[in-house]
C-alpha cells in the first residue's frame, strides 16, 4: 500500500489510472460479449475489415516476392500460369472423383436402401489465401476474396488432399475460414471401411481431430479413413477428412473415442478451392436443402428476363 502511494507521489495519476482501467476493461469485455453473441459488430467488421487489405498485401509482399523470384529464376513464369490453370482443373476433377467413389462405396454398402442419395454437381473456384500470420495457435485462414466476390458464410473450403474448413465471416474484400481443427468446429464423417458415422471435432491443434462418445464396441482401427458423410448438408459427402491414429476407451469406461489426423495440408496452401454446391437434377433438388424451410427450386431458368407488358 505504501509503495503504491510512493508511486502516486512520484508520478501521480495512480488512482485515476485504476478507475480508467476498470472503465476500459468493462468496455472491452462488453465488446467481446457483444461480438460473440450478436451480429452487430459483424456489420462493422465487414465494412472496416476491407481497410485492412493493404496491410495484408504489404505484410505478405516479402514472401510473395521470394516465390516470384523462385519462379522467374527458372524462366517458368508462363509455364507456371498454365500450371495454375491445370491445377484448378485437377482439384475439381479430384473432388468429383472423390464424390463418385464415395457414392459407389455407399451403394455397395447400402444397396437396397431406399435412400436415393443426393447427387451433386460440384463447382468451385480457386481463391488466394493471404500469406500472413494470424497467430499459429488460432485455426483460421484469411482469403483474398469477400462478399463482393460472392463468397458466402458457410461455404466449404478444400485443398487437393481433403477438407480444410468453412467460411465463417466475410468482409467486402476478405473472408475468414475456420479450419476443421478449430475447437468450435465439428464435421460429420463416415468411416470408409465400416460405414460407421461419427462427428469429428477440432481440439485446437493442427494435427488432430477428436471423435468422442463412440459406442464402446465400435470397429475402428488406426489407419481407417474418414470422409465427410454429407449429413447436416453443410459439407458435400465424400471428401477425405482425416485418418484415424488412435482408438481408446475414455475415462468413464462407457464410451470409446478416437483421435484422427486431418489429411488436408492446412497451412501450406496458397490457393484453396471454394465450393459451391447445387443439385444436378430437379428431382434431387426437391429434398430438404441446406437450410430449413420449404424447398426452393435450385435450377433457375437461365434465360434473359422478358419484360412483361
Amino acid at each position: 500500500m505504501s509503495v503504491a502511494n510512493d508511486n502516486s507521489a512520484l508520478f501521480g495519476s495512480d488512482r485515476s489510472d485504476t478507475l480508467r482501467l476498470i472503465a476500459y476493461l468493462i468496455v472491452a469485455v462488453a465488446l467481446m460479449v457483444t461480438d460473440y453473441h450478436s451480429g452487430y459488430l459483424e456489420k462493422v467488421r465487414s465494412w472496416l475489415g476491407a481497410a485492412a487489405v493493404p496491410m495484408y498485401r504489404v505484410a505478405q509482399a516479402p514472401a510473395v516476392g521470394l516465390r516470384w523470384l523462385y519462379a522467374a529464376a527458372g524462366e517458368r513464369v508462363a509455364l507456371k500460369r498454365d500450371n495454375d490453370a491445370l491445377r484448378t482443373e485437377l482439384l475439381l476433377a479430384q473432388a468429383r472423383l472423390n464424390a463418385a467413389w464415395f457414392e459407389a462405396e455407399r451403394n455397395r454398402l447400402a444397396s437396397g436402401l431406399a435412400e436415393a442419395g443426393r447427387r451433386h454437381q460440384l463447382t468451385g473456384r480457386m481463391v488466394e489465401v493471404f500469406d500472413i500470420d494470424i497467430d499459429p495457435s488460432r485455426q483460421r485462414l484469411f482469403l483474398d476474396a469477400g462478399s463482393r466476390a460472392d463468397v458466402r458464410i458457410g461455404q466449404p473450403v478444400i485443398d487437393a488432399f481433403g477438407l480444410v474448413g468453412q467460411v465463417v465471416a466475410t468482409t467486402t474484400a476478405t473472408a475468414t475460414v475456420m479450419m476443421l481443427v478449430d475447437p468450435l468446429h465439428a464435421v460429420p464423417v463416415t468411416n470408409t471401411r465400416t460405414g460407421q458415422r461419427a462427428i469429428a471435432r477440432g481440439v485446437g491443434r493442427d494435427d488432430r481431430l477428436l471423435l468422442s462418445t463412440l459406442p464402446i464396441n465400435s470397429d475402428i482401427q488406426p489407419g481407417d479413413e474418414l470422409v465427410s458423410s454429407g449429413l447436416g448438408g453443410r459439407f458435400p459427402a465424400g471428401f477425405p477428412v482425416a485418418v484415424v491414429r488412435e482408438f481408446e476407451v475414455d475415462v468413464s469406461g462407457s464410451f470409446a473415442r478416437a483421435w484422427a489426423e486431418p489429411v488436408a495440408r492446412l497451412r501450406q496452401s496458397t490457393q484453396l478451392l471454394l465450393l459451391d454446391e447445387h443439385a444436378v437434377d430437379a428431382a434431387g433438388s426437391l429434398g430438404p436443402g441446406d437450410g430449413i424451410g420449404p424447398p426452393v427450386p435450385a435450377l433457375v431458368p437461365d434465360e434473359p428476363a422478358e419484360p412483361q407488358s
Binding site: A4, D6, N7, L10, F11, D14, D17, T18, R20, L21, Y24, L25, V27, A28, V29, A30, L31, M32, T34, D35, Y36, L41, V44, R45, L48, G49, A51, A52, M55, Y56, V58, A59, Q60, P62, A63, D131, I132, D133, I134, D135, P136, S137, R138, R140, F142, A169, T176, P183, L184, V203, G204, R205
Partner: protein, 162 residues
C-alpha cells in the same frame, strides 16, 4: 507532418501491426514475439504521456480488426500489460537490464495466460508447448529492442507536446 510525435506514434503502431502479420519462415512463426505488447510496454515505460491506457485500448481494437479476433480481445490484453507497467513503472525503469527483461518475460507470460483464459470461455483450450514460446522470444529480444527504441525515443522526445 512526420515531425509530430503523434504521427511517429502512428508509424510505430503501423510497423508493429506489419511485424505481427509478417509470415515467419517455417517454425519461426512460433517464435514470433507479441510485437504490440512489446511496443506498449516500451511506451508505458519510456513515454508515459503516450503509453496511456487509451492508446493501448485503441491499438488493441486495431489489432482485433486486423486479425479478426473478437473486438476487445487484443484491447483487453494490451490494457492489462499497460496497466501493470504503469503501476510499477518507477521500479521497472531502474532495474538493471537483465532484471527488466525477466519482468518483461513475466508480463508476456501473463499475457499468454490471459489468452488461454479468454478463449476457454468459449471452448476448452489445450495449448501446445509452442504456444508459450512468444513470451520467451519477447524476453530475449527486449534488451535489443530497448536499445533501438531508445534512439527512436530520443527523436520522439525532441518535440514535446503532441
Amino acid at each position: 507532418m512526420l515531425e509530430s510525435p503523434a504521427w511517429r506514434l502512428a508509424l510505430l503502431l503501423a510497423l508493429a501491426y506489419l511485424l505481427t502479420l509478417l509470415p515467419g519462415p517455417g517454425l519461426f512463426v512460433h517464435l514470433k514475439p507479441f510485437w504490440l505488447g512489446l511496443l506498449v510496454i516500451w511506451l508505458a515505460l519510456e513515454q508515459p504521456a503516450r503509453g496511456t491506457l487509451g492508446v493501448a485500448f485503441l491499438a488493441g481494437l486495431g489489432a482485433d480488426l486486423l486479425l479478426a479476433t473478437w473486438f476487445g480481445e487484443h484491447a483487453l490484453r494490451l490494457l492489462v500489460i499497460c496497466f501493470i507497467v504503469r503501476r510499477f513503472r518507477s521500479r521497472l525503469r531502474f532495474f538493471p537490464m537483465w532484471q527488466q527483461s525477466l519482468a518483461v518475460g513475466a508480463l508476456l507470460l501473463n499475457d499468454r495466460v490471459v489468452i488461454v483464459m479468454l478463449r476457454s470461455f468459449v471452448a476448452p483450450v489445450l495449448p501446445e508447448w509452442t504456444f508459450w514460446l512468444p513470451a520467451l522470444s519477447g524476453m530475449v529480444l527486449w534488451p535489443l529492442l530497448f536499445l533501438v527504441m531508445d534512439d527512436v525515443g530520443r527523436r520522439l522526445r525532441s518535440r514535446p507536446g503532441m
